[in-house]
């Protein structure tokens, strides 16, 4: 099973680095080395494999592989940028933990188990609050992150458990399906800090380094959202039940996140806050995909998620590099930043194209498709315009960048590399000196690489679009087994999103006919539990 080396590397790396965090150099070396190894082992993952463990199992997909490769690469670059700006001690270790849990969540066909793994990822994310300020403030903010994670996890566990059983003898009104759907959708909204459920996320931007922010508010919730999408498409979307009332609630949260986050980012004076609200705004598009309840949203939603997490990581890296160069993150003190540091201006330009996009880019088209599927008519056009509202705050930042520097403008570090002749008699000192002389260059270089990567993903490079359109993990492929053959749902059965565990029913959720509801039985999800709109491999 090619996923196991990745799980081993990330889990052991995360645990070791966190246990040794008192020795920052050793912990950082382990974590950065672990991220490098994670990228290599992620590349070695073979899609289409599965392993059965006690009635359930894990399976690999092309999307899982791409998500992990991108996650490890982005995590490595963010770790380097974080080290260069001196502000992200635990971030690399936390990245390993988030990747380990994300790998598990995305490889588990059974949503009931996958939500547990995705919740554990949020637990890792809370640890980034311990640095750099740490102490009581960090603990307070971290506990709030953990609270959001566990509350969301609890709602998701309850929702998946309620649906994931035989419901042929359902006595309650079928509309209660809507409650399960609403619970999971709200759980996703909580994890992303969507407005108005963002009270835990706002102080986070004040207290964690820029480079760690995407870990908590983008990467860790992304795995949770992908699980939610698979579950909703397989278990809720096929039902002939009127869920408009609860869909409106999810739509309202999604739209308010998209629009209000842009407004909030527009009026912020700190670039860290702009990054924070930018992430929340883009996450609103993911909520739109969940609100669409249409299998056709499956592929664009997963495409958008890939573009979103990488682009927002690049934006965060740009913010960190800018702070490193100018020693400030306040826009009022950054007047003329793009003129004094054109490289940072170019990087932000690339980030803007990657995150907002232009017609023809995979991410741009995916967002348009999601909006069209979620909302019809003029309101849909308005929401699509709202989705382009990040241009407003990007424009403000760029306007500040080309403005005339004020008299008291912050001084800027040079972005010219400084490399002294190699001293072979004291190589360690030379390396240390070269590193410390080039911190701003390193941070800016890392941000540039991330921006290019984000642009590539937005274009649909690395097979992002085809991977996103693929099936969710399924055990109906060549498998390895650590247990005797178990009562898996046979091919052709109407199992929900995942084959049930031992002793559990495997019927698809269905609702009895009632006077008010259509009498037809809900169509069963596709045999492998995949969204019915997902193409066959």
């Amino acid at each position: 099973m090619s996923l196991l080396p990745f799980e081993l590397v990330t889990t052991v790396g995360a645990v070791l680095a966190l246990l040794l965090r008192s020795n920052a150099r050793v912990a950082t070396a382990i974590a950065v080395g672990g991220l490098f190894a994670a990228a290599v082992t992620a590349l070695a993952i073979s899609p289409g494999q599965s392993v059965v463990i006690g009635g359930a199992g894990i399976a690999t997909t092309e999307y899982l592989r791409l998500f992990l490769v991108l996650g490890a690469t982005v995590g490595l670059l963010l770790a380097v940028v974080g080290q260069a700006v001196g502000s992200a001690r635990d971030a690399a270790a936390v990245t390993l933990g988030v990747l380990a849990t994300s790998a598990l969540a995305l490889s588990l066909p059974d949503a009931r188990i996958a939500v547990l793994a995705a919740t554990a990822g949020g637990g890792f994310g809370a640890l980034v609050t311990l640095a750099p300020t740490g102490g009581r403030v960090g603990a307070t903010v971290g506990t709030r992150v953990l609270r959001a994670t566990v509350v969301a996890g609890t709602m998701a566990v309850a929702a998946t458990a309620w649906i994931g059983r035989d419901l042929t003898d359902l006595a309650a009104q079928p509309v209660v399906f809507g409650l399960a759907y609403l619970a999971f959708a709200l759980a996703v909204a909580i994890r992303f800090g969507a407005i108005p459920l963002h009270t835990w996320a706002a102080p986070l931007t004040d207290n964690v380094p820029e480079t760690a922010l995407p870990l908590v508010t983008a990467w860790a919730p992304a795995a949770f959202a992908i699980v939610a999408l698979a579950w909703a498409d397989a278990s809720i979307a096929p039902l002939l039940v009127d869920l408009d009332a609860v869909r409106f609630v999810v739509l309202a949260i999604a739209i308010s996140s998209i629009v209000l986050a842009s407004v909030a980012a527009l009026i912020q004076d700190d670039i860290e806050h702009i990054v924070g609200y930018a992430i929340i705004g883009d996450a609103g598009v993911i909520l739109l995909a969940i609100a669409a309840l249409d299998p056709a949203a499956w592929a664009p939603a997963r495409t958008w998620i890939l573009a979103f997490v990488v682009a927002r990581s690049a934006f965060a890296a740009w913010a960190a590099a800018t702070r490193s160069v100018f020693f400030t993150g306040r826009l009022t003190d950054l007047r003329g930043w793009a003129i004094r540091s054109p490289a940072l201006g170019v990087i932000l330009g690339v980030v803007v194209v990657a995150s907002v996009g232009v017609p023809g880019l995979a991410a741009f088209d995916a967002r348009g498709t999601i909006v069209a599927l979620a909302i019809d008519g003029p309101l849909g056009a308005l929401v699509l315009l709202g989705a382009l509202s990040p241009l407003l705050y990007y424009g403000r930042v760029l306007l500040v960048g080309v403005g005339r520097p004020a008299g008291g403008a912050a001084s800027a570090r040079s972005l010219r590399p400084v490399v002294s002749p190699v001293d072979l008699t004291d190589l360690r000192s030379w390396l240390t000196r070269t590193w410390s002389d080039n911190l701003a260059v390193t941070a800016t270089g890392g941000a540039a690489l991330l921006a290019i990567l984000a642009l590539a993903v937005s274009f649909g490079a690395f097979g992002a679009s085809s991977a996103a359109a693929g099936l969710p993990p399924t055990l109906d492929v060549s498998r390895e087994s650590f247990a005797p053959e178990d009562p898996q749902a046979p091919v052709g059965s109407d199992a929900p999103s995942a084959p049930p565990a031992d002793g559990e029913a495997g019927e698809a959720p269905s609702a009895p006919p009632s006077d008010d509801e259509p009498s037809e039985a809900p169509p069963a999800p596709s045999p492998d539990g995949s969204p019915s709109g997902a193409p066959s491999p």
């Binding site: 966190l18 637990g123 740490g134 566990v157 207290n207 700190d270 020693f327 002793g503 029913a505």
Partner: protein
């Protein structure tokens, strides 16, 4: 329903009552251990030995991580700082749990036949009701953290009540999740305790919403 499952379910609820009522972190953690260890036993049929072992190890390790923090003696040799404890007292907490237990038992299946024992749903509702107050109103890391562990434990109980006994892989992932969450609580609690003399208490809200310095220099260097 078997008497043994009933006794174990009551042990889970009883442990949870102590978790939310006591002010001594060590007592809280002992009770938490009882609740977490007993939870996988509230199932019919019982999980496989591998699954049970995973949950047992997970529960003990999760509690031990918290214990490492709570057993710490300060500079003066004084054991730990108190946690919040219940504001309404343990008798009221017992009544609250009893009421939720009855509701959970009566609502077993939530509208459809369930695959697990009704006592799991009952215990899940009771533990969830107990967990709400510390999660919502708690003002220190240990109280909120243990409340969160109870909350997710309640969800696991309800999941068992609805869907039946989890399989081995689910038990393994559950155990790992509990360890991660408890480890995060322990790290956060240790961080709070090491900062000043406020024990595990939350920071002053004014300190949490601070604006970054206008001309901040690069922060923490390794």
């Amino acid at each position: 329903m078997t008497p043994i499952i009933a006794i174990v379910a009551l042990a889970v609820v009883g442990g949870s009552v102590v978790v939310v009522s006591s002010r001594d972190p060590r007592t809280v953690l002992l009770a938490l251990a009882v609740a977490l260890v007993a939870t996988p036993l509230v199932a019919d049929p019982l999980a496989t030995p591998l699954g049970l072992a995973a949950r047992l190890v997970g529960a003990i390790l999760a509690t031990y991580l918290l214990w490492v923090v709570a057993r710490h003696r300060g500079d003066r040799g004084v054991l730990t700082s108190p946690t919040g404890g219940s504001r309404i007292g343990w008798p009221a907490e017992i009544l609250l749990a009893a009421g939720a237990f009855v509701v959970g038992y009566a609502a077993h299946g939530l509208g459809a036949p369930a695959d697990g024992p009704p006592l799991a749903s009952a215990a899940g509702f009771a533990v969830a009701a107990l967990a709400v107050a510390p999660v919502v109103t708690g003002q220190d890391v240990i109280r909120v953290g243990t409340g969160l562990l109870l909350l997710i434990n309640a969800a696991l109980l309800v999941r068992t009540g609805l869907g039946g006994t989890p399989g081995d892989l689910e038990q393994l992932v559950t155990a790992a999740m509990l360890i991660v969450l408890a480890g995060a609580v322990a790290a956060l609690a240790a961080s709070a305790r090491a900062d000043g003399s406020g024990g595990y208490a939350y920071a002053d809200p004014a300190r949490v919403r601070v604006r970054r310095e206008p001309d901040a220099h690069p922060r923490e260097q390794l």
